[in-house]
């Protein structure tokens, strides 16, 4: 079984892509460091820098325990770059993408991939507690390890105030929570977390996505 990429390898893969395909991609350093001091990077893939091209943003590694997402994104980016540079198509089992499909993606759009939004959480899930889901911000834990972290995918501003937008009958833990002990704790306010701020930075930089 292929080994799952760790956070170091995810970062190194992006460095390799930029070095190997300098005409096609460049790494973008995100402005916010994580709580544990990690610097995050995304990768912009495009032939040329025309402003009018549609932008597609792909993110992964948001919920720490959902392994495989970063691997999928990294491998997809690598396959795309490899295929385009050789003028080839790509085949995944029974599904084939022709060389012209690959050219369309690279030449007629800008693809931005951010494979590991929550590296602190992913690292913790990989090495300590497999079931970890949130980031590793202890600000609301009051010293209780079980209350560390904010659910990055509940920290965006879209319907962040779930009690305002949803009927009380829909208030379940899977919707969102204002309790730091729950896996879906949405944080003290929208975009309170550096991880969410990094995604917002990409959305703003490449507006519209």
């Amino acid at each position: 079984m292929a080994l799952i990429l760790n956070t170091t390898e995810i970062a190194s893969a992006l460095i390799n892509f930029e070095a190997t395909y300098p005409e096609l991609c460049r790494r973008l350093q995100l402005p916010k460091k994580t709580y544990e001091g990690r610097v995050c990077h995304a990768l912009q893939i495009a032939k040329g820098h025309a402003q009018h091209k549609p932008v597609v943003l792909i993110i992964a590694g948001v919920h720490a325990r959902e392994w495989g997402g970063p691997d999928i994104v990294v491998n997809f980016a690598g396959d795309l770059l490899r295929a385009y540079s050789k003028g080839k198509g790509l085949q995944y089992l029974k599904k084939t993408f022709l060389a012209r499909d690959i050219r369309t993606i690279v030449e007629e759009s800008t693809l931005v991939v951010f494979p590991c939004v929550n590296p602190d959480g992913v690292e913790f899930s990989h090495t300590k507690r497999y079931l970890w889901r949130k980031n590793r911000n202890p600000a609301h834990s009051k010293g209780d390890a079980k209350k560390i972290g904010v659910d990055i995918n509940r920290n965006y501003d879209f319907m962040w105030d779930f009690k305002k937008f949803f009927h009380p009958a829909a208030w379940t833990d899977s919707l969102a929570s204002d309790n730091p002990a729950i896996e879906t704790f949405h944080g003290p306010e929208p975009f309170s977390e550096p991880e969410t701020q990094n995604v917002r930075w990409l959305m703003d930089r490449f507006n519209p996505v």
């Binding site: 190194s12 295929a83 995944y92 497999y130």
Partner: protein
Amino acid sequence: MVRRSRVRRASSGKRVAPGKTYRLLVEVGPHETPRNLHHFRLDHCCMPQRPADENGVRRLHAFASGSTVKALRKAGRKVKVLADADKEGKRLQRHIGKGDRFRGGRRGPVGVGKLV
């Protein structure tokens, strides 16, 4: 006096311990939603869910403590314990790459697609 074990036998044959975490399936009635199980505080966020089986029976895939498994059964819920989540996690963590196979960027991933 016979000392009673703290470990409870699960209906699926798997023993559960109160303080441990398990991955399990909880049978859900045809007109129920996860909201009906809300008070058990099951962790099913973003878990892959199976469709109803050929008999129309649906089961919620979730993580829960041994104490919660006991409470579910006491409430008449059918629970199938699939795995000790902590042990399963340790086993899965062995599949995480060690070090840096890409050597700081000097090497790169091969990818999984076949060039055609």
